[in-house]
Symmetry: C2
Subunit: 192 residues, 2 copies
């Protein structure tokens, strides 16, 4: 996705630990015009999977997931990291590690909004180690719903997360792929 | 806003402690079509304040704030509750209490995305006690930016939060007002 690639090269910053900072348009400040285009692109790529719901994780997954949900006109559910007072009963829970904070977190979804009859599209901001996405997959498996696709705005191909998702046998779409960091240079893959 | 009022009456649930559960369309699952309409309505009501940025707080403020940002075509910044690895330097910080979890939280914004030249519109999911919104106002004051308006999707008029914002002398817009709970009945105000 060309406008995303250009934005990453212009505004992305490499921090210690191979962390890519895209806080100026996705993870702290959101560029709504870019985010709308991202949603439309995901909707186009996943049109054929006939998803009934989108599942993401708070916080940074919400913007691309909502934008895609607007384009596909299907509801989006964001897994919570803490059980709010409004979530009663026995929610689905999966432990994972927060890539932006480094601590253990739990992802929690109410069975009210993830049904065994659902066809679920997972969307997130990054596909890196894929730990968050794997936790979302396990939540879907708990619910008995069918996973139909996985999308992430930015993929760090060097982090190897995609390999751990291949056995799921669903389409995996990412809109920009980072091959490596070369000093303070971001090297994008030429794939798409 | 009639479609929001109808949705609250149909899907809203009253929980202990005067908590209104609207997890089916705003706080856990998001209805993207309704959320798009909410953003367009805020954009219409705040068109004249000439905002340059929207400020909200993670997590549940993000959807209405992003939707409004899409309609106004201005960036949205979401205050973080924990400082991520990507946020370096000395961010603006304000303590408040989480209405959905009941614990003390800190709202954190990077000075990179809140400038003294900004005209800032605050948006959130609820106007209840207004504690979160007051913390966002203080973040704006720290930055030297100008507050130009405050919007919330649902107002609990009985919680009195609006009174604590009146002295700020900016337009305050809410799209549905809950006057009281009568047993398991939600009583909306007739105002708008």
């Amino acid at each position: 996705m060309q406008i995303l690639r250009e934005r990453i090269l212009t505004d992305g910053r490499i921090l210690a630990g191979n962390i890519l900072k895209v806080d100026s348009f996705m993870n702290h400040q959101i560029d709504p015009t870019l985010m709308k285009s991202i949603g439309e692109e995901f909707a186009r790529r996943f049109a054929s999977v006939k998803a009934s719901r989108i599942l993401t994780a708070e916080t940074s997954g919400i913007a691309p997931a909502l934008s895609t949900a607007m384009a596909l006109e299907i509801p989006v559910v964001f897994a919570r990291k803490h059980q709010p007072k409004t979530m009663v009963g026995n929610p689905f829970r999966e432990k994972t590690e927060s890539p932006t904070h480094g601590n253990q977190v739990e992802l929690i979804v109410s069975p009210e909004y993830l049904k065994s009859t659902d066809r679920v599209l997972i969307l997130d901001d990054f596909l890196s180690s894929a730990r968050t996405i794997v936790a979302l997959v396990k939540l879907i498996q708990q619910s008995g719903a069918t996973l139909v696709g996985i999308g992430a705005v930015i993929e760090k191909t060097f982090a190897g997360g995609r390999a751990s998702l291949q056995s799921l046998d669903v389409p995996i779409e990412t809109l920009a792929q980072i091959e490596r960091f070369d000093g303070d240079q971001i090297i994008l893959s030429e794939l798409n």
